[in-house]
């Protein structure tokens, strides 16, 4: 339906959308060596019990393979808790050799998983962000929007919450080698 002919009835307006960023993606880093003797940072999130369990399993495997691990559990995005979390993540990024950061399995927690992963890349450390399948595209988008479009993202099945304990342990086993491969760990 058209109320008037549009062929010669045009007006000029201003485009309402912002131009996309053209900044190149920040560099990423890989371990390029064995696990033994490395210090590994884990970022968990008090919101996600499934990820804490998987991270615990991976923690054990890394220690078995000769690494030392430091885990920091985040509790907030803002306020004193958020400020403490960001400061601790930054400190972790300074002290570890590489890091595993999760979990992105909601909108805002994926955004903060990616933002905290970026903190490790800013310290030129290898890092992988852990997100679930439903939030994988969102994770890549946020990484891209934060200027780290090449950030390595490991995608776990979705949903993880409310899965039986045994299934979560199986997922931890299945995805541990993939995590190491993505980080660039070699034998």
């Amino acid at each position: 339906m058209s109320m008037v002919s549009t062929d010669d009835n045009r007006i000029l307006v201003r485009k309402p959308t912002a131009a996309p960023s053209t900044e190149p993606a920040a560099p990423t880093f890989t371990v390029d060596g064995p696990i033994e003797g490395r210090r590994v940072g884990f970022r968990t999130d008090s919101a996600w019990r499934s990820w804490s369990l998987i991270a615990d399993v991976w923690n054990g495997y890394l220690q078995r393979d000769g690494a030392t691990t430091d885990t920091y559990e985040t509790h907030g995005m803002i306020g004193d808790t958020g400020a403490t979390d960001r400061a601790q993540i930054d400190k972790l990024a300074e002290t570890v050799d590489f890091a595993i950061v999760g979990l992105g399995t909601c909108g805002s927690c994926t955004s903060f998983t990616i933002a905290d992963s970026v903190a490790f890349e800013d310290h030129e450390k290898p890092v992988i962000a852990i997100v679930t399948e439903e939030f994988a595209t969102h994770g890549h988008n946020v990484a891209n929007h934060l200027g780290h479009g090449d950030l390595k993202v490991l995608v776990l099945p979705y949903p993880l919450e409310a899965l039986p304990h045994e299934e979560l342990l199986q997922i931890a086993d299945d995805f541990y080698p993939k995590a190491l491969e993505l980080l660039g760990v070699t034998k």
């Binding site: 045009r10 000029l12 509790h75």
Partner: protein, 353 residues
């Protein structure tokens, strides 16, 4: 002085219906017809501010793109904002860009949360911002409908917020079209939100709350004001509130109180701080209201308070009363919190007259 516009100029149909169809195709809008952002209109909007068109107001998430005064004015034009009201849109965007508002989290979350704007000051009446009957929907004041909508369009077109894509909100909410109300300062027995934030009554101040929706409460059974406040407090502490997802130290709940109830509440609570203390002290549920497994989660997180009480928030200042609404009494509305967001207030800056 007329602003020289920098944004790309494009040719569009002059016919309103065809322009509407184009806006849908280009995904510029919210599904409702838009007004074409012609140069005259955009320049009139910019002229109401003390800024040049290329002045950067904010970096808007999710895409972290630059919101200049000109781009904001273009989106405000499409929303139908009255030219002199652009400073209120800018103030809202400045407020939601404060780090403690957590725009990155709130624009990408699965939650329904969205910026809810509350305006104090002379601009409330000047721009027809609703604060009396049906102020949260239906009153149709131009300021309420267009200023909130302009902020929403800026988040879409500048920040790149798109449902199911860059924003993962599971349900969204009607306020995602835009939400802007005024405070009925003259009927409030307490200082306005703006005054409580340190502004004066002659300033136009926009307070931006990350609100999850409108949560209605009603009563006809209580004659005692304190009893009624007690029940409001209990109603705020519903078990699946976002504020029980975290530690309770972040986020605020806004409680919109109608003028008739405000007159009753001012007798036992002449100071708003005392009202806030009473609300916080009674906004809790017993831990036994939650299933056993959930209780275990709360215990592990250290969320359980004294005597197994589950307080909604840690501090009285996290429950924020304000007065608005019609004179029909009987109702209050809570604007529940996302949790990981702190309310922000910013004064509008106008061009010198």
């Amino acid at each position: 002085m007329t602003a020289v516009l920098q944004q790309e100029q494009i040719e569009v149909p002059a016919d309103p219906y065809d322009f509407y169809e184009l806006s849908l195709e280009e995904q510029w809008g919210d599904g409702v017809p838009l007004i074409p952002p012609t140069d005259d209109y955009v320049q009139a909007l910019i002229a109401s501010t003390p800024y040049a068109g290329d002045h950067v107001v904010a970096i808007l998430p999710p895409k972290q793109l630059v919101a200049t005064v000109e781009l904001i004015a273009i989106n405000a034009a499409m929303a139908g904002v009255e030219p002199d009201a652009l400073p209120l849109v800018i103030a809202a965007l400045e407020a939601l860009s404060a780090p403690e508002w957590n725009a990155l989290g709130l624009t990408t979350t699965t939650s329904s949360v969205f910026p809810m704007l509350i305006v104090d000051g002379p601009g409330r009446d000047r721009f027809s911002i609703d604060y009396k009957a049906s102020c949260m929907g239906g009153a149709a004041g131009r300021g309420s409908m267009t200023i909130g909508r302009a902020v929403a369009l800026c988040l879409r077109n500048i920040g790149g917020q798109r449902a199911g894509d860059t924003t993962r909100s599971v349900f969204g909410q009607p306020a995602r079209f835009g939400f802007c109300i005024g405070e009925w300062e003259e009927r409030s027995p307490w200082p306005s939100l703006a005054e409580r934030a340190g502004f004066s009554t002659d300033q136009d101040v926009v307070t931006v709350h990350g609100g999850k929706g409108t949560f209605p409460m009603a009563d006809i059974n209580n004659d005692d004001a304190t009893d009624l406040v007690f029940l409001i407090a209990k109603s705020l502490a519903y078990p699946l509130s976002n504020l029980y997802l975290g530690g309770g130290e972040n986020g605020e709940v806004v409680v919109a109180i109608n003028p008739i109830w405000a007159d009753r509440f001012k007798v036992p609570f002449p100071d708003v701080e005392d009202l806030q203390v009473f609300l916080q002290e009674n906004a809790w549920q017993p831990l036994s209201s939650w299933p056993e497994a959930n209780q275990e989660v709360f215990r592990k997180k250290g969320r359980v308070g004294k005597d197994d009480r589950m307080y909604l928030v840690e501090r009285p200042d996290q429950i924020i009363p304000m007065v608005c609404g019609g004179l029909g009494s009987l109702h209050a509305i809570a604007l529940p919190s996302f949790g990981e967001s702190h309310i922000q207030s910013v004064a509008a800056q106008y061009a010198p007259r």
